[in-house]
């Protein structure tokens, strides 16, 4: 199970939090000028990264505030928690060496267990 460091409340179990999807997606301001395709991009399209991913959570049974998190979706390792409005910090993560490569532990797929240590700044 995850343990998540809420910026306000400290280390709590993941079940206290609610997931809020991909981070850093700004709601467009001039929506009346957008095409259907541009609107679909905002409402529906997602990057769905395998690897270092910036996402939002909020502390449902605690302070009930939103915050950002940098987590490696290929291993579930949490690299950073940072406040709304801040930019993601630079971290070092164990990333898949190939696009669909898998973590060295926890995955049953022996054929693609290739991880590499990589310096990565999430955009």
């Amino acid at each position: 199970m995850f343990v998540i460091d809420c910026p306000n409340c400290g280390s709590r179990d993941q079940s206290e939090f609610t997931y809020a999807g991909e981070a850093h997606i700004a709601r467009p301001t001039e929506t009346e000028n957008m095409t259907d395709a541009e609107w679909a991009e905002f409402v529906f399209m997602r990057t769905n990264t395998k690897g270092l991913f910036a996402e939002r959570w909020w502390h449902a049974t605690g302070c009930r505030k939103f915050f950002n998190m940098l987590r490696n979706t290929a291993t579930d390792e949490i690299h950073a928690v940072y406040r709304i409005g801040e930019k993601p910090p630079k971290v070092t993560a164990n990333l898949p060496a190939t696009p669909a490569g898998e973590a060295s532990i926890g995955s049953g797929n022996d054929a693609v267990k290739i991880m590499t240590r990589d310096e990565e700044a999430a955009s």
């Binding site: 609610t18 679909a40 399209m45 769905n48 395998k50 049953g108």
Partner: protein, 416 residues
């Protein structure tokens, strides 16, 4: 392909079982193929089989990064049904169900298809209205579906608890009698054997690392075993749909979540059908080995680890105990997860893309297994003709721009 039969079993037995063919070959990749399917699960192997059998495309390959059926095909709870709400969904899931009915015979492989019936339960008046609406919609679309009240549910499934003493009692449910379960490994192996016999190369332990294009058209793929030239690349990788699409900068509305499942210790036959509940969230059936096969909702976070969190399992067990207090002493034996590619409308993507020759079949989310033969069948049609047929067309990716969503969260029966 040597036919499996009782006679063949006896004949081979007399020869010490040394005469059986390999079920599929282990070929070296050719430098080029007429089409390459990325993803060696049920959907991918079904696509290859129908491409070879119905469209005469036998110079094709299935490329699989691990072992065939090692992804979601090996991790689902094997439920087969077609009782979705909208016309478009009924078309594809019922197409699949009709193919399931004869598949074991067609592939000459025991897929252990059991049409034991699927119950979807209602626990309040709102659910009753929704489910009764779905029964009528199903009937209009030729999907067998009927409404049972609580007593009739108990009659059909004796081990269920319909007592009024629980928080959300069973008020009734829908029954699809032709729904049921089958053996997921058997389906994968059956399709693999049949496709291989038609000349399809199944390339396991071969990961696609890039897709090559020239002037907006597909020319081949890069793999961990070299470059393969091909004009048609079809991605059907449950759990990694976005990873494949990202190779060509194609944006998708897909998010990949863990979906967990578990089995109990084996017990004598006690559960004679599939039981699913949205409100008291769990779905359960009993395998031929005697294990209860149990599933429920996805984990909320995105993850590619095929692992989820324990609180999901605790909720599943609480729901199971409400519906079947008789199971409270059972030990749970094994738990696992898969990666489900969820679309905002809980319907799949079967589509051409802006890149000519690149086709995507994915985003089945939590409901892909039941569609396996239908998905492969219509995807093969799309790949061969470069146009989607009537069944596949509503699932094109542009529906997220036009707004023609096929909203099936209710019928999907899995919490998102």
């Amino acid at each position: 392909m040597k036919r499996y039969s009782a006679l063949e079993l006896i004949r081979q037995g007399l020869g010490g079982h040394r005469g059986w063919d390999r079920v599929w070959r282990k070929p070296e990749p050719k430098p080029s193929y007429d089409a390459v399917i990325i993803g060696g699960g049920g959907h991918g192997l079904a696509t290859a089989y129908y491409l070879a059998k119905l469209h005469g495309m036998t110079n094709i390959a299935v490329v699989e990064k691990g072992w065939i059926g090692g992804g979601n095909s090996g991790r689902n709870t094997t439920i087969i049904r077609s009782n979705y709400l909208f016309d478009e969904s009924a078309a594809i899931y019922n197409h699949a169900l009709n193919l399931w009915k004869g598949l074991g015979q067609e592939l000459n492989f025991n897929i252990m298809m059991s049409h034991r019936g699927v119950l979807n339960l209602a626990h309040d008046e709102g659910e009753m209205r929704q489910l009764k609406r779905r029964v009528e919609a199903n009937r209009l679309n030729g999907v067998d579906s009927e409404w049972l009240d609580a007593k009739e549910v108990k009659n059909f499934c004796p081990s269920i608890n319909i007592s009024g003493d629980i928080r959300y009692p069973v008020l009734g449910g829908t029954l699809q009698r032709s729904g049921g379960v089958n053996r997921h490994d058997g389906v994968v192996w059956g399709y693999a054997r049949a496709a291989d016999a038609l000349g399809v190369d199944i390339l396991q332990q071969t990961e696609v690392t890039g897709i090559l294009t020239e002037a907006g058209e597909v020319t081949g793929i890069e793999t961990t075993r070299g470059t393969i030239r091909t004009p048609k690349v079809a991605s059907v990788t449950a759990g990694h749909t976005s990873v494949m699409a990202n190779m060509l900068d194609i944006r998708l509305p897909v998010e990949s979540h863990p979906l967990q499942a578990l089995v109990s210790e084996p017990i004598k036959p006690i559960l004679n059908c599939v039981v699913m509940s949205n409100a008291v969230h769990v779905y359960c059936s009993q395998s031929d080995k005697g294990e209860l096969v149990i599933g429920a909702g996805i984990d909320a976070q995105l993850s590619y680890t095929q692992r989820g969190n324990l609180d999901i399992i605790e909720h599943q067990m609480a729901s199971l105990m409400e519906l079947f207090p008789i199971f409270s002493r059972l030990r749970m034996m094994r738990q696992w997860g898969g990666i489900v590619d969820v679309c905002p409308d809980a319907s799949p993507i079967i589509s051409k893309t802006p890149v000519k020759g690149f086709y995507v079949n994915g985003g089945w989310g939590t409901g892909g297994w039941k569609a396996t033969p239908g998905s492969g069948h219509v995807f093969a049609d799309l790949i061969a003709k470069d146009e989607p047929n009537r069944i596949a067309a509503p699932f094109a990716i542009d529906r997220f721009t036009t707004g023609a969503l096929v909203a099936e969260h209710g019928a999907a029966a899995v919490a998102h």
